[in-house]
Amino acid sequence: MRAGLIGRPVFGWIPLLLLGVAGSARAEYGVNFPEPASQGAREIYDVHMLTFWIATVLMVIVTGLVAYSVWKHRRSRGFEADARFHEGWFGRWGWVSVPVLVLGVDLTIATSANPTLVRLWHPPADVELDVKVTGHQWWWEYEYLDHGVTVESRAAPQEIAGDNYLREVDNPLVLPVGTKVRFLHTSADVLHAFWVPALGFKKDAIPGYITETWTEIDREGVFRGQCAELCGTWHARMPIVVKAVSRDAFDLWVRERRAEAQRAAEEADPTREWSRDELMARGEQTYVARCAACHMANGEGMPPAFPPLKGSKAVLGPVEDHVGVIINGVPGTAMQSWARLNDLEIAALVTYERNAWGGGTGELIQPARIAAVRSESQSAAR
């Protein structure tokens, strides 16, 4: 997100000159690609700068010709039209020389771009890590195919994201540096596009098909990007955050994730009863991470698009309906199905929504009850 250091000398002065907003100029000015974090991105950057300079030169030439002519060949300066101009050498040779020159430039551009293209287009044979990236409306799912680890990555609400508003997530995509990583892109619903400028490429996620990209990150750090293919209501709210760490740190992280998954599985046993505080605490976590983006941390939503929950009959009405909406979502609206959450998470969430924000029915909902509703709605479906 920091403006590319490389970019600065090239573009840095332009906004100040052209746009006269120097006063408000902040350090974060982005006027060119962010600093590349991989060899591929660096090559792309160079191709970009090459074509940029070629374009600039051509622009200067054209502007020069026009400016000179406008200045010199005007009647107000008593210039008489040279009716025989087209008989001069340019008249005779212009229509060959211009195309030849242009063709030359064109081929220069194409040939200098081609090597990068070839290198980036197909993943190398020796990829060390496969990550399946699935776009959902409106979050990303990262499956580390050879580690059996899955990460759900969602936009963090403003309160948490702060300056990284719309560019921060709850769980980042953690990747080891100095490792050839291959991404397998696909989608669960509509088109999305995976784009992290610092890694240099963008690829569409197409439901039912798998497209590939690869990268080898060469420095640790956090790299931010956004979904780049219009995917509906919250297209603006599916950021991508890549956390590049050392190989060791990565292995450690993988182990932790595995252990976590273990714990969650054990907890989820339906017979166990939970206390109010436990439920409220977990519920709040889930709510902030999952729901606050639309319904807001204070439950007041953003009418009309996003109804408030605070004091609404959605959360004060019958528990079954409440749970039903969470499990099935509301078709044709931005409210998606949360069937993915386990019974405990939903139980906590429901409890929280029914008691938070000062209002509240005071009742506690236990996982067992969620399980019941689930099985019901399934049999109803059948």
């Binding site: 403006a3 090559e43 406008v70 060949h73 509509v190």
Partner: protein
């Protein structure tokens, strides 16, 4: 020929325009129909512009102030489609209607009644488009949040509104196919004796090529939209992998239409420049034959490079290499035309009335937009640019100079011809400058936004994108306001402008159309002029 016919023609020879509504609603006169086209286009320009104003107002600051995301995307969809199908194409068609018969010495278009049908289909289509925008707001299902490219599966999720939109496009498509047929037939069959194809004015040539393109690609769009309807309602699976289909198929069909479409928007405006520049440089167009050849070259190349809009969908290496090279090569014919314009100015004796000001500005700004197009054409770099605000910057830099400004130049160039009244040069120049400055302020910063990583089609963005968006929105306000001035200048001319002092209005103007008085008689050339 039997008597009744003779009578018919005799009566036709000298009769004044019919009176009242009949004249406008039932018209078979190319000038009246041309006027209808132009008025319609003007209205659409303001509707599309108003939505643009809302878009820019929303993007003025981070956060959601005016509209929710769905309404935002509904707005950009409508903005894009209205501007392209409602404003630019009809405006160009209007000018074709007005000028082509006068330029080639024909009494009217070849198929006058169908001509009227081509026009009246437009308001119908536009109404459908409007409905698609309004229906959801009145509670008719979800809003259209797909953008003008209507990619499935998203466009399959959308509610009834999408059906209105699709049928709206069908109507407008039929309209432009009929109009194109009419124009081709007119150009091939109605030229005055002695006017060979290679003596035909360049504006006519650009329209001949454009009409060919339209006839070839409009039906493909119609086909794609039809398949979309079937996927939406009749259980087919052209665009869904589950049934063995592929969402990308729609993109190929759409861009097979979509890329030639951009040249459809470009060429008529180039045609206008090819008349404006010689007039105000008092020097014939440089390299007529080369320009004509380039037009044809653009059309041919333009038909076979569509997938440069789809570099990120995953195509084989060979495919992207082909599309990259093909796309870049288009700079040759386009470049030739640009250089022939410059060479026409070179060693001319220039004066700078408003049309000429626009012409000069177009050469510079369009070249700029074209060059950013070349940058986009380079696959590895486009991996970054694609679907970012950089693309938005590119296409406004080609769409406004390449299409809209050319049409504006045409308006100022021909308004005295059409009405016999002169516009106010000082106000017009004021409009020009505010327009050009507003334009660059609006779209130049968007290049930076794109490079810095701002995707397009988002209603809300991170703070790092604030500054340039502020500038862009301020520029847009100026830009929008300048069009209000434009409307004033035109209306003022039509109702109260001073009669033209000399005829032809522009001393440097050549061509049959200028041999007719301004304003021209209701029927242009009852007797065909004989070219010497």
């Amino acid at each position: 020929m039997n008597t009744t016919a003779a009578a018919l023609h005799a009566e036709q020879e000298h009769h004044a325009p019919p009176r009242g509504p009949r004249r406008w609603f039932y018209s078979t006169n190319h000038k009246d129909i041309g006027t209808l086209y132009l008025i319609f286009a003007g209205i659409m320009l303001f509707i599309g512009g108003a939505s643009a104003m809302i878009i820019r107002a929303e993007l003025f600051m981070p956060g959601l102030q005016l509209v929710d995301p769905d309404l935002y995307n509904n707005l950009i969809t409508n903005h894009g489609l209205i501007m392209i199908f409602g404003a630019v194409m009809p405006a160009a068609a209007g000018m074709a209607n007005w000028m082509i018969p006068m330029m080639i010495g024909s009494p009217d278009m070849a198929l006058p009644r169908m001509n009227n049908l081509s026009f009246w289909l437009l308001p119908a289509g536009a109404t459908m488009l409007m409905l698609s925008f309004v229906v959801p707001l009145l509670g008719g299902g979800t809003q259209i949040n797909t953008g003008w490219t209507l990619y499935p599966p998203l466009s399959i999720q959308v509610g009834p509104a999408m059906d209105f939109l699709i049928f709206g496009l069908h109507l407008m498509g039929i309209s432009s196919i009929l109009a194109s047929i009419n124009i081709i037939v007119t150009l091939l069959n109605m030229r005055a004796p002695g006017m060979t194809l290679m003596k035909m004015p360049v504006f006519c040539w650009t329209w001949l090529v454009t009409a060919f393109l339209l006839i070839l690609v409009m039906p493909v769009l119609a086909g794609a939209l039809t398949m979309l309807i079937f996927d939406r309602h009749f259980g087919t699976s052209f665009f869904s992998a589950a049934g063995g289909g592929d969402p990308v198929l729609f993109q190929h069909l759409f861009w097979f239409f979509g890329h030639p479409e951009v040249y459809i928007l470009l060429l008529p405006s180039f045609g206008i420049l090819a008349h404006v520049i010689p007039t105000f440089t008092r020097k014939p167009l440089f390299g007529y034959k080369v320009v004509v050849g380039s037009l044809i070259g653009i059309a041919c190349l333009g038909m076979v490079v569509w997938a440069h809009h789809q570099y990120t969908i995953g195509m084989s290496l060979a495919a992207v290499q082909y599309f990259m090279v093909g796309t870049i090569l288009i700079s040759i014919p386009v470049g030739l035309i640009v250089f022939s314009f410059i060479a026409t100015m070179w060693r001319g004796s220039m004066t700078f009335e408003t049309p000429m000001l626009f012409a000069v500005a177009i050469i510079l700004t369009f070249t700029f937009g074209g060059l950013s197009g070349i940058m986009l054409a380079v696959v590895p770099a486009d991996m970054q640019y694609h679907d970012s605000m950089f693309v938005v910057a590119h296409f406004h830099y080609v769409l406004l100079p390449g299409a809209v400004f050319g049409l504006l130049a045409g308006v100022f160039y021909w308004l005295p011809k059409w009405t016999g009244r002169m516009y106010n040069e000082r106000l017009a120049k004021l409009f020009f400058w505010s327009n050009i400055i507003g334009f660059n302020l609006t779209f130049f910063p968007q290049h930076f936004l794109g490079l810095a990583g701002m995707p397009r089609r988002i209603a809300d963005y991170n703070l790092i994108f604030t500054e340039f968006n502020v500038v862009s929105s301020v520029g847009a306000a100026l830009f929008g306001a300048s069009f209000l001035l434009f409307a004033y200048v035109v209306i003022q001319t039509v109702v109260a402008g001073p009669r033209v002092s000399r005829d032809p209005v522009w001393e440097g103007a050549r061509g049959l159309e200028w041999e007719l008085p301004s304003p021209p008689p209701f029927h242009s050339w009852p007797k065909a002029p004989v070219l010497t």
